[in-house]
Symmetry: C2
Subunit: 326 residues, 2 copies
């Protein structure tokens, strides 16, 4: 395969789409307890900023998760979404995420014609691809655009990824995402994986997306690295709000992209008016030493999240304990 980056720094690629995942990945920081005012302002801001997709949250099973314990963006009931987006007459598309094994999709995902949702993103681990394909087929039949986020590929072997891409290539998914769940990938690895995903994408006519985490302060760098090789669906969250170390920051991404349809000032205004207050209320996310340590060891961030939550700053001991688990 010829190794050639796509586009240059001053040009723009009309194929690139930006997805705002603030309510969804950011919701993991505050149990999805966003006010209506926050969600409505975010919706308006995304439209003003030229964002292509806004993810409203998860379609989580109410049998598995108690609605009394989570905000509505954990479930994304149609009526709740419509309360935020009204009749949703804008060029921006809406997405929801559904996790394999944590959703009653046949019960909770209805026909597209009755929904403001445009795209369903199915999230799965690499061992769950057949279950993901069942969901992708179901959602496509219901009329939705679909994407699949194969999580934690940094843990998978090359042959597993190859097999997964072959299977997903034959699925109805419109987009296959490269997901660095643990924030462990370096740009060189992202480049190689992106090229692998793009090969499958070209064969099966799928776009390739990227969803990065900031454990090693590489979420933005890895996102533009993937984009430079041809990934076209780029996930970001405002101020990087997302689980643990968070995600690629929307303000960095829109500050970088050259397409004149994107506008940075609405994002800046939203950070001042909504994200700083969230932080002041005690919602915590972003780069911190424990996340770096799980990231570089290619481990799930759960122990780092607990370490930060407990205010444990004995990083050397935390590191030693991780090495014993690794």
């Amino acid at each position: 395969m010829e190794i050639k980056r796509k586009g240059s720094l001053l040009s723009f690629r009309p194929d690139i789409k930006v997805l705002d995942a603030t309510l969804r990945d950011g919701g993991l920081c505050n149990n999805f307890a966003f006010s209506d005012d926050f969600a409505k302002a975010l919706y308006k801001m995304n439209i003003a900023a030229g964002v292509d997709y806004m993810e409203m949250g998860y379609k989580a099973s109410k049998a598995m998760f108690d609605p009394a314990k989570f905000g509505k963006y954990k479930f994304c009931d149609e009526a709740d979404l419509q309360k935020i987006v009204g009749d949703h007459k804008s060029g921006m598309k809406l997405s929801v995420m559904a996790d394999v094994g944590r959703t009653d999709f046949k019960k909770d995902i209805g026909d597209k014609k009755n929904s403001v949702v445009d795209m369903v993103r199915v999230a799965c681990y690499i061992t769950e691809i057949p279950a993901a394909i069942e969901m992708l087929e179901y959602c496509a039949k219901k009329g939705y655009e679909t994407a699949v986020n194969v999580m934690a590929v940094s843990k998978a072997r090359d042959e597993e990824i190859d097999a997964a891409l072959e299977m997903l290539g034959q699925s109805p998914a419109d987009c296959i995402y490269l997901v660095d769940s643990y924030g462990s990938l370096y740009p060189e690895q992202v480049a190689k994986l992106t090229l692998k995903y793009l090969e499958a994408g070209e064969k099966y006519k799928k776009s390739i997306g990227v969803h990065a985490h900031n454990n090693q302060q590489l979420a933005f760098g890895n996102t533009i690295e993937a984009a430079s090789w041809g990934a076209s669906m780029l996930d970001a969250t405002v101020n990087g709000m997302g689980r643990g170390a968070g995600n690629c920051s929307m303000e960095l991404l829109l500050g970088f992209l050259k397409n004149p349809k994107y506008h940075l000032p609405p994002v800046l205004r939203f950070i001042t008016d909504y994200m700083l207050p969230l932080r002041q209320q005690g919602v915590v996310w972003g780069y911190d030493i424990p996340y770096l340590l799980t990231g570089r060891l290619n481990m799930h961030p759960s122990s780092a999240i607990a370490c930060v939550r407990e205010g444990n700053t004995d990083y050397e001991m935390f590191h030693r304990a991780l090495l014993e688990k690794d």
Copy 2:
């Protein structure tokens, strides 16, 4: 020129050297008011971590800067350094930085044989190369290893950089640094510039270094990008402490490098014991929206530093004001 990265992710490059610039670039955050305890612990930590060079601070002119207003690391008097490092019998080398136009180098830099300092790094803007060369020649004659940091090259035209590299190639400098003073460069630009610097470096037998800033959360990403093409002197600071958005974090860099001589745990311990207390005392550095904005506009961070210091969080207005200045 053949485009080929040097080394791979699992190998290590024995030519790579890590320089800790915490006292020097970090000193810009607290007017160099580090305690002796801090500096001694940092010195011991760097040795334990396998760091190759530790920069002790600046050799600033006492005629231009009032010693009553700055900590001793602004001036690096020999007696003060010896108080910290004792007889300095370790494999680690010490460096000091001298800014063109802000140093009385003929008065303040004596013979190497009477100093614990191993290397003098001369910092200059691209218009000051002849003055830098005069200093490099002076310091080399005094017996020091020398390096030159050409600042703010993101503002320079290609032909200026080419001319600068030719002139510096013929100077005694052992190392020429690619410096992203404004934190404005993206990895693709860093790659291109690194290759340009390396071309001069190969012609004139100089090593190439990289000094990055974190305005766009790219300091670490850009550092390893430059290293992947062949830059071998890598600047970092503990916890990224440095002017404005700060630098490449030592913990990220040592977490990445594969050479078994580098050790992460001493850095983690130092962060807990010394860097967190600094932050608690109110010393501020690290990624923040105003730095992103000057970085992406390729501007000096001074207005962003003022914005953060004033607690001005009206980022949209700050951005608008920058655009008017740009």
